[in-house]
Amino acid sequence: MRTLTFALIVVVLVAAGAPGVAAHHSFAPFNMESEKTVSGTVKKFDWTNPHTWIWLDVPNDKGAVETWGIEGMSPNYLGRRGWTKNSLKPGDKVSIVVRPMRDGSPGGMFVRATLADGRELRQTGQPTD
């Protein structure tokens, strides 16, 4: 079912002409059929090309803090869709849905995020003038 849902999403995205992260690299390092939610505190937000990176301190089940690296679209792309370099700040509490790394490393591809105040961040949508 997951696979079918993902296949449908891909078909819809392609049909809509929506570009993917694939413009710069493939999805191969990520498990695109899986979603994982990680919650923690923003350590750093890289507003850089070719991708933004959210570094999220996440408490693990052993009581230690693990830093997750979460890849997003570029500042050029996101900047035309409402994001700024201040969309996430160090210290922000946030839950982020990712497509996790296939090799189990603490990282993934950004899908969507929910901040403590309920604000939701997405990377999709049409550009604004």
């Binding site: 392609v14 570009p19 413009a23 890289d46 850089t48 070719p50 050029n76 900047g79 550009p127 003038d129």
Partner: protein, 262 residues
């Protein structure tokens, strides 16, 4: 040493001689006259391509444009080559390492481009990978034996409200489409046409004897965004993606604010 009139004269003579000897090596194109006020005024009569454009929603993005659903028709040799390359299971290509895709892929990126019109030339400033295409519209012919470039060598001419561009001479580091290396005779014809106040279509036809069994035509629709500016895109700024020699894709996940992992 003091500069006496004699040494100055000798140096000047030496420089003049060097220039006279060196000059023919650079004189590949005939001397070009400076553009006149009339040349600049003539630009106003051309279709208005100015401004920043991006592939429109549904306009054929992700590097391919809208072509036949099955892609290009390949010769048996090229089809066999594609099968061989596909069987290698490469997970990514060199764009992951920040090598720009070149033509034709560079025209289908999810980033905008700006058209600049000056006398005898159209310049396309492409945001993705900070690339530039130079299209000469001054009537010069395509070169007989061009150096091989990521974007080839382009000349264009205005036909009514369309700009028709012919390009040849592509670097072997570029691909026609994924897993299809181009041949040395690949030729790309692009027809840029204004189709509305802020819409443009680009019809791209690729011919490549030995690789394509029929011309491969794709069409892409661009939307103009008058208020946009081209943003900086330095791929090496913080590129954590990579592909190795075997085609294995990976990500460098070392935490920039902490100790490197492993």
């Amino acid at each position: 040493m003091r500069s006496t009139p004699t040494t100055v004269l000798t140096s000047a003579a030496a420089m003049l001689t060097m220039w006279l000897v060196a000059a023919p090596a650079h004189a590949q194109a005939p001397a070009k006259a400076a553009p006149t006020a009339a040349d600049w005024a003539a630009l106003a009569k051309l279709p208005d391509f100015t401004g920043v454009w991006e592939v429109a929603p549904g306009g054929g993005g992700a590097g391919r444009g809208r072509g036949t659903p099955q892609g290009p028709s390949l010769t048996p040799a090229a089809a066999a080559k594609r099968k061989e390359l596909q069987s290698l299971g490469r997970e990514d290509n060199q764009t992951a390492n920040c090598v720009p895709p070149g033509m034709p892929g560079i025209m289908g990126q999810p980033y905008p481009m700006e058209f600049l019109l000056t006398p005898g030339k159209v310049t396309i400033v492409i945001e993705a990978y900070t690339q530039v295409r130079h299209i000469y519209t001054d009537g010069r012919p395509l070169p007989d034996d061009p150096d091989l470039k990521f974007h080839g060598t382009s000349v264009g001419q205005w036909e009514g409200n369309a700009l028709v561009v012919d390009t040849i001479g592509f670097s072997p580091l570029t691909e026609l489409v994924a897993n299809v290396p181009h041949g040395d005779q690949m030729r790309i014809r692009e027809r840029f046409t204004l189709t509305g106040p802020d819409t443009m279509s680009i019809e791209t036809t690729v011919t490549d004897p030995g690789v394509l069994s029929a011309p491969y035509t794709t069409t892409r629709v661009l939307q103009r965004h008058r208020s946009w500016t081209i943003a900086e895109y330095v791929c090496q700024e913080n590129n954590r993606n990579f592909v190795d020699e075997k085609g294995k894709a990976g990500i460098r996940l070392d935490d920039p604010a902490g100790a490197p992992r492993k």
